[in-house]
C-alpha cells in the first residue's frame, strides 16, 4: 500500500511504498501502475514504477498535485489475478570475451567462477522494473553469496546484451551504454526492439526470468 504521497517538483506525484525491496511491495507498485495506466486519468503523461516507489508525471496545464493526489488516494486497485506474469529463459554465453568482470567477482566474493555461475543459473529472477536505458530489466533477487558492489569506475561502454550483477540485482544491457555493473556474460537475444511499437520490451515488471548457459557455438548460431 502507498505509505505516503508527496510532490516531486510541481508536475509529479511521488508515491512511497516504504523502504524495503521485496516482491510483495513491488507487486503492489506494479498493481497501482497497471490500474492507473488503465484509468487514463486526464493530464497523466507518464508513470514510472520502481522497486518501492511510483512516480506519476502530469501536465500542469491539465491537472495539479492536489487534484491528482485526491484521485490516487481514492483509487480502487485491480485484483491480483488480473495481472499475468510471463516466464522467460534467457540464453547466456559466459566465454572470456563476454564475462568481463568474473575475475573481479571471484576475488570480491571469494568464490570460484564455477560456483558463481552454478548459483546464478539455478536462480529464478523477478523483474522489479525496466528502465534507465530503454527496456533494461532490473531482476532480483540474487543469492546473498553473489552480492557485490558496482565497479569503482563505471565503464564508458558496456556491450549490448551484457548481463550485469550488483547488490541483489541482475540486469541486461539492452544496447551499448555506460554502466558500472559486474558483467558476467552476454545474451544473443534482443531484449528491446524499438521497431515494435506495442511491446518493445521482451521482459516487463512482474515477469519471471531464468538464465540458461549456452556455448559460444550456440551463441554465434543463435539467430539461425
Amino acid at each position: 500500500m502507498i505509505k505516503n504521497i508527496s510532490n516531486l517538483g510541481d508536475a509529479a506525484l511521488y508515491c512511497d511504498f516504504g523502504k524495503e525491496v521485496n516482491k510483495e511491495i513491488n507487486t503492489q507498485v506494479i498493481k497501482y501502475f497497471k490500474t492507473i495506466q488503465k484509468k487514463n486519468i486526464i493530464g497523466v503523461n507518464n508513470i514510472a514504477p520502481s522497486y518501492n516507489k511510483l512516480i506519476i508525471s502530469f501536465d500542469l496545464k491539465k491537472i495539479n498535485f492536489n487534484k491528482l493526489k485526491k484521485i490516487i488516494d481514492n483509487i480502487e486497485i485491480i485484483k491480483s489475478d488480473n495481472i499475468q506474469n510471463k516466464k522467460f529463459e534467457i540464453p547466456v554465453c559466459c566465454e572470456k570475451e563476454f564475462s568481463l568482470d568474473i575475475k573481479r567477482l571471484e576475488e570480491k566474493l571469494k568464490m570460484t567462477e564455477e560456483k558463481i555461475y552454478e548459483n546464478f543459473f539455478e536462480n529464478e529472477f523477478f523483474c522489479y522494473m525496466t528502465g534507465f536505458i530503454a527496456g533494461m530489466p532490473f531482476l532480483g533477487d540474487l543469492d546473498e553469496k553473489l552480492r557485490a558492489k558496482r565497479l569503482d569506475t563505471p565503464r564508458v561502454k558496456v556491450p549490448k546484451g551484457s548481463i550485469g550483477l550488483t547488490e541483489q540485482f541482475a540486469n541486461i544491457y539492452t544496447f551499448e551504454s555506460p554502466g558500472g555493473w559486474n558483467i558476467i556474460g552476454n545474451t544473443p537475444l534482443n531484449i528491446f526492439d524499438s521497431t515494435k511499437e506495442k511491446e518493445p520490451n521482451l521482459i516487463n515488471p512482474g515477469d519471471l526470468v531464468t538464465f540458461k548457459r549456452i556455448s559460444k557455438e550456440n551463441y554465434q548460431n543463435y539467430h539461425e
Binding site: 517538483g9 514510472a48 508525471s57 495539479n64 530503454a134
Partner: protein, 314 residues
C-alpha cells in the same frame, strides 16, 4: 526521390528533429525527449502556420548550413540565433521570429546561437520523417526517432514530403531574456544533506559544466555534503530533478534523461523555469532559489499565459 529537399553542407554540432516528444513510456525506459525549449519550439511552428506538434530542426550552438532544392518554401528561426540567407550572390542577415522565403538553390546558414544553447528551424511543409510512438523526436542515446535515431550529419539530405502554400510574411517582436536565478522546490531527499550543504545549495553560485547535453546539465561549485547516504534505491526520474552524486556536484536531468536513477534528489527545477534553464551555456553561473509548490504552480500559470499571449500575437 523527393522533389523538395535540403542538402546539408554542414550539419552543425547537435542538430536533431524534435516535436513535443513521446508520453507514457517511462516504464519501459524511454524519456519524453522533444524540443528542449518548449516556448521557442511553439513560436517557430506558429510563425510558419504549422500545427503546434509539427517536427522542427533543433540545433545547439552551431546550427546547420543548408542548401535548398525545390519549390518556394517559407521558413522561420527562433531563439537567439545568428544566421544568413544566400540568394545567388546576395548574402543577407536573417532575423529570428520572422519568416523568410527560400527558393531553389538558396542557402540558409545557421551560424550560431548567441549566449544560449538551442534554436529552432521550422518550415512551411512536412519533413519526410519516421515516427516512433507518435513522435519524430530523435533520442540519440537510445537511437530512437527520426533519422534512424541519429543527429544530422554532413552531406545527407533532408527530404520534404509536401509544402503548404502558406507564404505569408509574419513577424513577432520578442527577445529572449536570460535568467540565472533558477527556482526549485525541495526534492524528496532534501534531508540527506547537511545544514551547511542545504545552505550552500541556495546561497552559492554554480557553474554550468561543459559536460552538459540533452540528457543532463552538470554543475560545478562548492560541494554539497551528504550526511545520510550518497546512494538511494534506484527509482524513477523526471526532467528538472537535481541529483547530487557522491562527488557533491549537482546534475540536473534534462529531456533525454535516463528514466531511473540512484542518487539523492536535493531539488526539482520548477516547470516555469525549464525553458530558460536549458538555454544556459557552459560557463554560465546559476543560482537556485527555493519556492513552495503553490508558488511553482502559479509561476507556471503565468509563464504559460505569457507563451499563449506571444502565440496569439502571431
Amino acid at each position: 526521390m523527393s522533389k523538395n529537399y535540403f542538402e546539408i553542407i554542414r550539419a552543425g554540432i547537435n542538430s536533431t528533429f524534435q516535436d513535443l516528444g513521446r508520453k507514457n513510456l517511462y516504464h519501459i525506459g524511454i524519456p519524453f525527449s522533444g524540443a528542449m525549449d518548449n516556448r521557442n519550439y511553439l513560436l517557430a511552428n506558429k510563425l510558419i502556420g504549422n500545427d503546434h506538434n509539427d517536427p522542427v530542426i533543433e540545433f545547439a550552438y552551431q546550427g546547420p548550413h543548408l542548401k535548398y532544392h525545390g519549390d518556394k518554401l517559407n521558413i522561420a528561426v527562433t531563439g537567439d540565433v545568428s544566421f544568413k540567407i544566400k540568394k545567388g550572390d546576395n548574402l543577407t542577415d536573417g532575423k529570428c521570429y520572422q519568416t523568410f522565403i527560400l527558393e531553389n538553390n538558396d542557402e540558409l546558414n545557421i551560424i550560431s546561437t548567441n549566449k544560449s544553447v538551442y534554436g529552432y528551424l521550422a518550415i512551411s511543409g512536412k519533413f519526410d520523417l519516421k515516427f516512433q510512438w507518435s513522435s519524430c523526436s530523435t533520442n540519440t542515446r537510445a537511437n530512437i526517432g527520426s533519422n534512424n535515431g541519429a543527429k544530422l550529419s554532413d552531406n545527407q539530405k533532408i527530404n520534404i514530403k509536401e509544402i503548404n502554400q502558406n507564404f505569408s510574411n509574419t513577424k513577432l517582436n520578442y527577445i529572449n531574456t536570460k535568467i540565472e536565478n533558477i527556482r526549485v522546490v525541495k526534492g524528496t531527499n532534501f534531508n540527506y544533506f547537511s545544514d551547511e550543504g542545504k545552505r550552500n545549495f541556495f546561497k552559492n553560485e554554480f557553474k554550468v559544466s561543459k559536460l552538459s547535453d540533452r540528457m543532463g546539465m552538470r554543475l560545478e561549485g562548492q560541494k554539497i555534503e551528504n550526511i545520510i547516504d550518497t546512494n538511494i534505491r534506484s527509482e524513477g526520474l523526471i526532467k528538472g530533478v537535481i541529483q547530487v552524486p557522491a562527488d557533491g556536484n549537482p546534475i540536473i536531468m534534462l529531456s533525454d534523461h535516463g528514466t531511473i536513477g540512484g542518487y539523492p534528489k536535493i531539488g526539482v527545477v520548477i516547470s516555469a523555469d525549464y525553458d530558460k534553464l536549458v538555454q544556459l551555456t557552459p560557463g554560465s553561473t546559476i543560482k537556485f532559489q527555493e519556492v513552495d509548490l503553490n508558488s511553482a504552480e502559479t509561476l507556471f500559470k503565468l509563464y504559460d499565459l505569457e507563451t499563449q499571449n506571444l502565440i496569439s500575437q502571431i
